[in-house]
C-alpha cells in the first residue's frame, strides 16, 4: 500500500474520534469540521516527510485544535468582537490532552457526534445522509450516488439537516447511564439504517450504483466496530455488528451476473466471505454469554444459523422458527411475522405459513415482500391463479429492478407450467 493510500485510510479511520473530540472542544460542528479538515491537509504534508505519528488521532486533534485557534486569533484581529470563549481555556486543555486520549475518553464524544445525527425531527434518509457526511466523512458526491439523487439536491438536503441539528442543542456534559443507554440505542438504530440503505440495493441497478450503495454497508460495519470498541460490554452492539457482518458476507452471492437477486436457498455458498462470517459468529458467541437477549442478537443468531449451514438443506429451520418467535415477543411487528412464515413453511409446510400471514394482509398490503412470499406459498400449494395475482401485486410494489425481475422469474415459470403440457411437467 502506498504512503498516500495509508494516510488516506488512517485519516478516514481517525475521523469519528478526532472530529468528535474537536466538537467537544469547540462546541460548534462547522468549526470542528473545519479544524479537522485543516489537520488532514497538514497531515498530508507532514506525514510523508516525518513518517506517520504514533497516535494519528491524537495528532489530528492537537493540530486541528491549534489550527482552528490560530484561525480564530487571526480573524479576531480584524473583527471587532473576538469570540472569547474559544480562546480563554486553551492552556488548561493543552497539556493533559494527549494523556487522556484513550477509548474511555472518546466514548461519550463519539456517541454525541453520532447521536446528533439521529435527531428525531429528521427523517431516516436525512439521518443517514448526515451521519455519512459528518461521521464517516463521505463526500456529498458519494452520498448522492448512493441515494441515486443529484449532487446539488443532496447538498441541500444535508445543509437543511445540519441547520436542524444546530438548533437541537445536545448537551455537552457527560451523559448519565440512562441517557447514555438511550443515545446508544438511537445510534445503533441509525447505524443499522445506514446498513439497510446499502443492503437493499447493493449489486442491483447499474453497476456503479451498486458499488456506491455497497460502500454504505462497509461504512455501517466500520461504525459498529467503532461503537463496539467504545462500548465493549454491550451485547446488543455485539449483536448489531454480528448481524451486519453475517448479512454482508453474502453480498457476492446475492446477485447473479445479470444483477438478478439470488435467494438464500439458491446462493452459491462458496461465494460467502468466510472472514466476515468468522467475525460475526465470534461476536454472537460473545454476546450470548451475557444472557440479555435483544432484537439485534436474535436476528444475528438467525443469520448465524444460515451461515453455519454448508448446504440449504442443513439449515436448522425449527431453531430459526423459535428465534423468530422470540423476536416477535421482543419487537412485535408484522414484518417479523412475515419472516417467521418462511421458517414455518419449511417446518410445517406452506399451508401453515399461509395461515400465519393471511391476517397481516391489511397491514402489509403495500409491502412488496408480503405479496412475493404469499405468491410463493400459493405456488407451492398448487394454486397457480391466486399465486399469479399475488406476484402481479408484488411487481407493482417492487422497489428495485432486481426485486421485480425476481418476481417475474416466478411468473414466467407459472406461465410456462400452465401452458398445455406444462402442468404435467410441473407435477413431475
Amino acid at each position: 500500500m502506498t504512503d498516500l493510500a495509508w494516510i488516506d485510510a488512517a485519516l478516514t479511520s481517525a475521523r469519528p474520534q478526532a472530529l468528535s473530540a474537536l466538537l467537544r472542544y469547540f462546541r460548534d460542528l462547522d468549526t470542528a469540521e473545519e479544524a479537522f479538515q485543516d489537520a488532514c491537509l497538514r497531515a498530508l504534508k507532514a506525514w510523508p516527510l516525518n513518517g506517520p505519528p504514533r497516535d494519528p488521532t491524537a495528532w489530528l486533534i492537537l493540530v486541528g485544535r491549534n489550527a482552528a485557534i490560530d484561525g480564530t486569533r487571526r480573524r479576531s484581529r480584524q473583527e471587532p468582537l473576538p469570540p472569547e470563549e474559544l480562546i480563554s481555556d486553551v492552556d488548561d486543555v493543552e497539556t493533559p490532552l494527549v494523556e487522556r486520549l484513550d477509548g474511555a475518553h472518546y466514548r461519550d464524544d463519539v456517541l454525541r457526534l453520532l447521536f446528533i445525527c439521529c435527531h428525531p425531527d429528521l427523517p431516516a434518509t436525512q439521518q443517514i445522509a448526515l451521519a455519512l457526511r459528518i461521521v464517516s466523512g463521505l463526500s456529498v458526491r458519494q452520498i448522492a450516488r448512493a441515494f441515486l439523487v443529484g449532487e446539488s439536491a443532496m447538498e441541500q438536503r444535508i445543509t437543511r439537516a445540519k441547520a436542524r441539528i444546530a438548533r437541537a442543542e445536545v448537551p455537552f456534559e457527560a451523559p448519565g447511564p440512562a441517557e447514555r443507554a438511550e443515545r446508544l440505542a438511537a445510534v445503533a438504530a441509525m447505524v443499522y439504517l445506514v446498513f439497510n440503505e446499502g443492503y437493499s440495493a447493493a449489486g442491483g441497478e447499474g453497476e456503479g450504483e451498486g458499488e456506491a450503495r455497497g460502500a454504505l454497508c462497509d461504512e455501517a460495519i466500520r461504525l459498529a466496530r467503532l461503537l463496539l470498541r467504545l462500548f465493549q460490554t454491550e451485547p446488543e452492539i455485539m449483536g448489531l455488528t454480528a448481524l451486519m457482518l453475517l448479512q454482508h458476507a453474502r453480498t457476492q452471492a446475492r446477485f447473479d451476473a445479470e444483477g438478478q437477486i439470488v435467494l438464500l436457498d439458491d446462493q452459491d455458498r462458496s461465494l460467502w466471505y468466510p472472514q466476515m462470517i468468522a467475525e460475526g459468529l465470534a461476536l454472537i458467541d460473545k454476546a450470548m454469554r451475557h444472557r440479555q437477549p435483544g432484537p439485534y442478537q436474535v436476528q444475528a443468531a438467525i443469520a448465524a444459523l444460515h451461515a453455519r449451514s454448508a448446504r440449504p438443506q442443513d439449515t436448522d429451520w425449527p431453531q430459526i422458527d423459535r428465534l423468530y418467535a422470540t423476536l416477535e415477543r421482543l419487537q412485535p411487528s408484522p414484518v417479523i411475522t412475515l419472516n417467521r412464515a418462511v421458517a414455518v413453511s419449511k417446518v410445517a409446510g406452506p399451508q401453515a405459513a399461509l395461515e400465519l400471514i393471511e391476517p397481516l394482509e391489511t397491514r402489509l398490503s403495500g409491502y412488496f415482500h408480503f405479496h412475493g412470499l404469499r405468491g410463493a406459498l400459493l405456488l407451492q400449494l398448487g394454486r397457480g391463479e391466486a399465486a399469479r395475482t399475488a406476484f402481479d401485486r408484488a411487481i407493482a410494489l417492487a422497489n428495485t429492478a432486481a426485486e421485480a425481475a425476481n418476481i417475474r422469474l416466478h411468473l414466467d415459470r407459472l406461465i410456462r407450467d400452465s401452458a398445455p403440457g406444462g402442468a404435467a411437467r410441473a407435477a413431475q
Partner: protein, 132 residues
C-alpha cells in the same frame, strides 16, 4: 533458534480492506510464505480476528474475571500464546481457566483466529522453557 514474529497494525484500516484488497495482500504473503516454508524456515502462522471479538480472563483476581474486550493494561507484556481447537467461547474460557488455575497472575486474552496456516517446521530441537 525459534522465533515468533508478532504482527502489529491498525486493525481499523486492515479490517476495512475489501475482499479484493485482502485477497491481493494474502496472495503476496502466500508467495513469500511458500518459499520460506520450502526452505524449512516457516512454521504455523495465523491471523487474528479484530480486538472487538476478544474476551479477557483476568487471572490476577480470584476467581478469575471474564471481561469483554482485549487485554488493555500496559504493565504486563506478551509472554506467549496457545492455539486451541474447541467448540466455542465458553469452551475456550474453560481451557483458559484450567491453565490459569495452575499458573495464576496476569491475564489471558482469548481471541478467535481468522486464518490459520498449520505449516510444519522440519524436526527441530525446540528450546525447553518454563510455561509462559
Amino acid at each position: 533458534m525459534l522465533y515468533a514474529i508478532l504482527c502489529y497494525n491498525d486493525e481499523d484500516v486492515v479490517w476495512s480492506w475489501t475482499e479484493a484488497e485482502n485477497a491481493a495482500v494474502m496472495a503476496r504473503l502466500g508467495a513469500v510464505q511458500d518459499r520460506l516454508s520450502a526452505e524449512g524456515k516457516l512454521g504455523p502462522s495465523l491471523r487474528l480476528l479484530p480486538t472487538t471479538a476478544a474476551t479477557t480472563l483476568r487471572k490476577s483476581s480470584d476467581p478469575p474475571l471474564v471481561i469483554d474486550g482485549p487485554f488493555a493494561e500496559t504493565k504486563e507484556q506478551l509472554l506467549g500464546f496457545y492455539v486451541l481447537d474447541v467448540a466455542d467461547l465458553d469452551a475456550a474460557l474453560e481451557v483458559a481457566r484450567e491453565l490459569g488455575a495452575v499458573n495464576p497472575g496476569g491475564a489471558y486474552e482469548i481471541r478467535p483466529i481468522a486464518v490459520y496456516m498449520p505449516l510444519d517446521l522440519p524436526a527441530h530441537p525446540a528450546p525447553r522453557a518454563a510455561a509462559p
